[in-house]
Subunit: 823 residues, 2 copies
């Protein structure tokens, strides 16, 4: 994969054969006169930037000393491990150089997305030329000392990664895992009407599914409201060891493909710098002229037709300007230039010699003055607002808090716990409707065609679904200015939202719980960005990534096995505790309270799992606020004989709406049938409270945990997800040996809600049996009750098979609130 880079560049070593054969240094090229829009001075200027950034990129890959070659190159000057991929760098630098020309000329507000993997040396170099490091990382000034540190830090222990990363000035896109560059670019452009995003997409990355789908993001970009994305397909023909698909289909077929995606591709092709510069300048001007006209038509004439946005196919050699032949094998323009063209430069004298000639082929003496500072011709090309310092790429600088209506005003009335019923996500939808209305420029809701299915359709009372395509006669609620983005691609929802958040805005992604696994990898990468960016001094916190997962595992009885998977939580909790938060609100008011908290938070990944089906309302608004603030708490109104200062016989704990319902139903049975039993009921909203305090900022201290869960009494824990997750969180707790968790196991079939709960032994009857089996001395006394529970399960089971629905006595059960005072 282009993201590969092996220790000691050993794959590259494999690529370049056995060390026999000649190694040829690149010849310094003559900048010819080529016709085009650039004057000779402009041509020289842009080429000078390109040479300087290429020099700095090669320096980062190879040199740990002697940055300007003021002494002959010695083995010790060269890093022992050669990392970073040169192959894509000249293309990245070419785009940056030309972007700067048009930024200056047109006063653009622009950012740059580098899709190709391990191309970090390019944007690092350009940021250094723009003097961004002086401001952000003062120990890397724009002089020979800074250049030395720029080189030294690159892919060196304690330094910066080989791809664009939080450490890269001007980058809001991590280049580690491939496929998301275009989505991040479009996400950044949404609601940023003045922004231009130059997005370079590697032709390797273009093979990934997420990237292949994301070209369609242009159907959600409004020329009036949003900024522009200029996709630049870096067609350098090769990945690590293979040609790319896009390079080995006829050019006409590639153009058809991109036109079919709705773009108008302009081709910049060649291997002679001067004509390529002229062609790139022409292409950039054409793109920007067309974009300006589209935006003018939309903004002044109210034209809502979807434009055929321009884009660029940049067809230039892989590793352009690197040694053409190494050890007798063709390198420049082939897959052998993908990584490090001279992999043994430290130990092989001929490689070292060629490396020096290669570096000198850029004529560093023309590029940097005696202090190592870029010459005026380069410095003068730095725009007033350079891409490497654009605050859009450090989105935390631009965050405006959401204007949130008081969630308490949207709560449902709860006089007695469990007597009323609501669809939790529908209640949340009412609040999100007004969040949407109050924040018309910096809040989005994204869903894979599930907005209404997930009961958030109230949002559509104040906005439409974003849609820039044609509209059919029966289509409803589509709008070119819609603030709900619906596309049947979890990758697109996640990627667009990431781009939107990374540039300082807010949003919610609602998804079926099982299918959120589709974006596991994207979640992981975003969580790592949040974690790593928090370590970068100049980065500011960005809005949290908020998930609303519904249609959850316990309500996928009917859709069956394929739709049952609560395992996203297991993926999430592996990430840094500084970043991840998991909430399982048991009812509508707690969901409101939690979501209010999430939308106020910064720099977290908040995973909220909530039901969309009618479910009991347990807590009033006031109680919900308190319970959610605690994150875990005893529900004293549900406990039985659990007097303060005493220890109960058993703890029934629950997390998640369905487990909470079953736990309370079990409690009601115990109260009725074993009136002497001392029962404590605990509900967990904030799953991270279960972790030790030293493992997570939300973790309960051991004394707090013990005071809730006791030190030695059986705990029957009804859990939303896979049961072992609770063990993984609690294995260090005092009372862990007495913790018995019921949750989901892979046993799905097509069934009914209660039958599915029974299949997993999470039902009220089984929980009662668990209590009987676990509380010392209870077995004999409760044998009759146990038998009743066995029979109740059999009856319920048989009923579903006959009627295709749950027994009314189960489905219509309500918490016997009235019984409370009498206890």
């Amino acid at each position: 994969m282009t993201r590969t880079s092996d220790i000691e560049g050993d794959t590259a070593a494999d690529n370049v054969g056995d060390g026999d054969g000649e190694t040829i240094a690149p010849t310094p090229y003559v900048l010819t006169d080529a016709p085009g829009p650039l004057s000779r001075d402009e041509l020289v200027a842009v080429d000078t930037w390109w040479r300087a950034s290429n020099y700095l990129a090669v320096g980062q890959i190879y040199l740990m000393r002697n940055p300007l070659l003021r002494e002959p190159l010695r083995p010790d000057d060269i890093k022992p491990r050669l990392l970073g991929h040169f192959g894509t760098v000249p293309g990245l630098n070419l785009v940056w150089a030309h972007a700067n020309r048009v930024i200056r000329q047109r006063g653009l507000n622009a950012v740059y997305v580098a899709g190709p993997g391990h191309g970090g040396p390019g944007p690092n170099a350009c940021a250094w030329l723009e003097d961004a490091y002086t401001l952000l990382t003062p120990d890397i000034p724009r002089d020979i000392d800074g250049m030395g540190r720029l080189f030294h830090q690159f892919s060196f222990p304690g330094g910066v990664p080989s791809h664009c990363a939080p450490e890269t000035p001007g980058s809001f896109h991590e280049g580690g895992e491939l496929g998301y560059s275009l989505l991040h670019a479009f996400g950044a452009a949404l609601d940023n009407p003045d922004l231009t995003v130059f997005c370079v997409i590697g032709d390797g990355e273009a093979e990934t599914g997420p990237l292949a789908g994301s070209w369609h993001a242009n159907k959600f970009l409004n020329a009036g409201r949003d900024g522009a994305v200029i996709p630049i397909l870096a067609l350098n023909e090769y990945k690590i060891a293979n040609p790319t698909i896009f390079a080995r289909i006829p050019e006409a077929e590639l153009v058809e493909l991109l036109r079919g995606y709705g773009y108008d591709p302009l081709i910049v092709s060649g291997d002679d710098p001067a004509p390529v510069h002229q062609a790139m300048a022409t292409a950039m001007d054409t793109c920007l002229d067309r974009i300006a006209e589209f935006q003018r038509a939309a903004r002044e004439d109210g034209d809502t037709a979807r434009p055929r946005w321009p884009m660029i196919i940049m067809h230039t050699p892989k590793g352009w300007t690197c040694p053409p032949v190494v050890d007798g094998e063709r390198v420049e323009g082939t897959f052998r230039a993908h990584q490090v063209p001279l992999p043994t430069a430290r130990t092989n004298p001929r490689h070292r010699e060629v490396l020096e000639q290669w570096l000198r082929s850029y004529r560093p003496e023309e590029l940097f003055d005696e202090h190592g500072t870029p010459v005026a011709l380069i410095r003068d090309q730095v725009p007033e607002h350079p891409m490497s310092l654009n605050p859009v790429a450090n989105g935390g600088l631009l965050v405006r808090d959401l204007d949130l209506p008081d969630w308490r005003d949207y709560g449902v009335p709860v006089d007695q716990p469990g007597t009323g019923q609501h669809e939790a996500t529908r209640v949340l939808g009412g609040w999100l409707r007004d969040v949407t209305a109050r924040n018309p420029h910096n809040f989005l809701t994204l869903a894979p065609d599930e907005l209404a299915s997930n009961r958030l359709q109230d949002i559509l009372e104040v906005t439409g679904r974003n849609w820039q395509g044609e509209v059919g006669p029966w289509d409803v609620a589509l709008s070119p200015t819609g603030r709900a983005v619906e596309v049947l691609s979890e990758h697109m929802c996640q990627g667009l939202l990431e781009g939107y958040l990374l540039t300082g805005r807010h949003g919610v992604f609602t998804c079926y719980e099982a299918f959120i696994h589709i974006v596991d990898a994207m979640f992981n990468q975003h969580a790592k960005w949040l974690d790593a960016s928090a370590q970068v001094s100049w980065r500011r916190k960005i809005p949290s990534l908020n998930y609303l997962l519904t249609s959850h595992v316990w309500r996928q009885d009917h859709n069956g096995f394929t739709h049952q998977d609560p395992g996203f939580l297991d993926v999430v909790v592996n990430k840094s505790p500084e970043i991840v938060r998991v909430y399982l609100p048991p009812d509508a008011n707690t969901l409101l309270s939690i979501y209010d908290h999430c939308l106020r938070s910064l720099h977290y990944a908040n995973v909220v799992v909530a039901g969309k089906q009618p479910g009991p309302d347990w807590l009033s608004v006031q109680e919900a606020a308190l319970h959610c603030a605690k994150g875990v708490g005893i529900w004293s109104w549900a406990c039985h004989n659990d007097e303060p200062g005493t220890t109960p016989d058993v703890v029934l704990a629950c997390a998640g709406d369905v487990p909470t319902l079953e736990t309370l139903a079990a409690t009601a049975i115990l109260r009725d049938r074993l009136p002497d039993l001392r029962v404590r009921v605990i509900n967990v909203v904030d799953l991270m409270r279960l972790l030790p305090a030293e493992e997570h900022p939300h973790g309960l201290s051991d004394p707090e945990f013990d005071s809730l869960f006791t030190r030695d009494r059986p705990v029957i824990f009804a859990f939303h997800g896979y049961p072992w997750l609770v063990h993984r969180l609690t294995y260090r707790r005092t009372n862990h040996a007495e913790l018995h968790v019921r949750g989901y196991k892979e046993k799905g079939t097509t069934t009914t809600p209660f039958d599915m709960v029974m299949l997993n032994d999470l039902d009220r009857f089984h929980l009662v049996m668990d209590v009987i089996d676990r509380v010392p001395g209870l077995g004999e006394r409760a044998a009759g009750l146990r038998q009743d529970m066995v029979e109740a399960r059999l009856r319920a089971r048989a009923w579903t098979r006959e009627h295709g629905a749950d027994m009314p006595v189960v489905a219509d059960w309500v918490w016997p609130s009235a019984a409370i005072p009498g206890d």
Copy 2:
């Protein structure tokens, strides 16, 4: 998402408004005379099949009794929960009807892939018409009783899912999570030269990233060697609540897109059955004529040019033939027809009345005889080899065991443990080369451009990389008959392999460990297929899904944080223990042994994580065979003073190559510095051995576990992945309280291998400190050693920062084998 279907069809209820307004029954259509290739008889025949399958589909969705409406429809005849999506069904049935015509006419060997979600009623209906149920599920014969059971079982408790699933005759594709239909189709066609795959792709599914990328699978289909895929884009314009992208771009743009993907789309469009039948017949004939010519040219003339394969765009109304208007809202041809067009038919008399008229509009009296058996006109359309009974779709029937060379012949010599070094995956590559050579028709290796990076390039000595596109002058090892599939899309690798396995062949998917998360969701779905299909009596076991994960977390020090993620194991172990196997071979010979086992196995997902960097050889071929058979074992040559029948002071356990190295290095230090300490060393190859025997077939019994890990001595466990995974597997074990796990935590940065190990406290020095801290009474005695360890770490740390590499004393360390006899 199209996969949605809500309890009681309530989203559909939302869709169709508030119950006011008129509800109109469909008018039985007159089959007009339309010009085309079908004679009047053929036209009537295909339309009769279509009506019959549509009738049976509506019946499945609604009826639990009275299947042939021989009595007036009563409320109790209607299921209480209405599930399944009618919207896509008429299109699915249309394709099946026409496929049968050409199968008969041309004697095709064909299978059918139904991509659209919850479209199960269609293929179920066609399979019943083909009498497949009689053979496979004898209680569902092709008569009125069988029809009743076919209807009753559909999406009913204990019945079959609403999408195509293992229970569906003729399906090898699960329709639960969307996006993989085309990959499964292409995977099935590979190495099946006589096969034709009719693959229906929903226009909703087409929005997903994986599907968007998978059109390019045609670059890997060889007209000479492989079968054919006919993609049929079901352009019915709508998802649950939204129009589709493909339906709301101009048709010319859609055609450009598909041509750009390399297809030649034929359009079948309309809403009048007769002309649509004629157009579909024309399109099918054209596709098959062209395919036949491509295959002839490739097979007879040796033509290797990539064909422009034909495909069909089927542009027909959503919910075609359903009630046009319900409660005053337009339904047929709109998103409101997506799910259940009459959601309250059980309780609303007018809906029930219209349902009956709808069912009768198909004229069931013309379709089924007095026994409920399809009339001869239908029965005669069943091909001799119907798609619903094609053994390709029950691939286990076709499995041929691989011809495997003896892995022992490929092992590396190990006279003394830890003295030699090999790259484990490179050694495996030698064996896989010969596996590839010996099995030229039923074994594939797939990689996302990582074959060589992952050290499996020896395979290329006997085959090329599959490539049907153009070939550039510098491309190497590409071949139209190549048996390695490389494409920079984990989704494509996984999906093609799934299709290949599901149809009874074998393969390996090699991937960077971190990026395998990209296919978490696909893994989950395939594991569920394996689990569920094992419950279907007529299904046979298929070859295992074999992963080779390398470039693993501990060797991604240089690529940094984004490349470090061992969490796929956490995803895997959530799935059914009957299905999942996880192996962490510590060296080259154990990797060979494990992989031999994996390639012989059936119906598992085997996840093997192994190193590609040079690492110590610990076990000889004979020892490796024994150790892998046990799955976990004491390495007695590494133990110290661990006499049989005694209990050691401490257990050092390890799983994974790097943790094993560090554990042995720690053991060597302990042996040298604390010669009285009794140390046991345990290596775990088969991670599932840690689970209790009642939780996993590989699980150790508690006595076995205790005899290895002791009942009360400290266990310092150096683990490859996130440390809590070991706790999750062992929390029930006797000695769990004394288990201390070191593993990966999210702390990545750009560094060196040993520095990364140190960052995670998994290094030899820290393991020694752990021993000192955990073994009772050792603290004071070993204070000096502890301080030495602290200092050794500081020195090693400082060295990496200065030199960019690990200290030679660490990097070059070898196990002091010579010391063994002297102990």
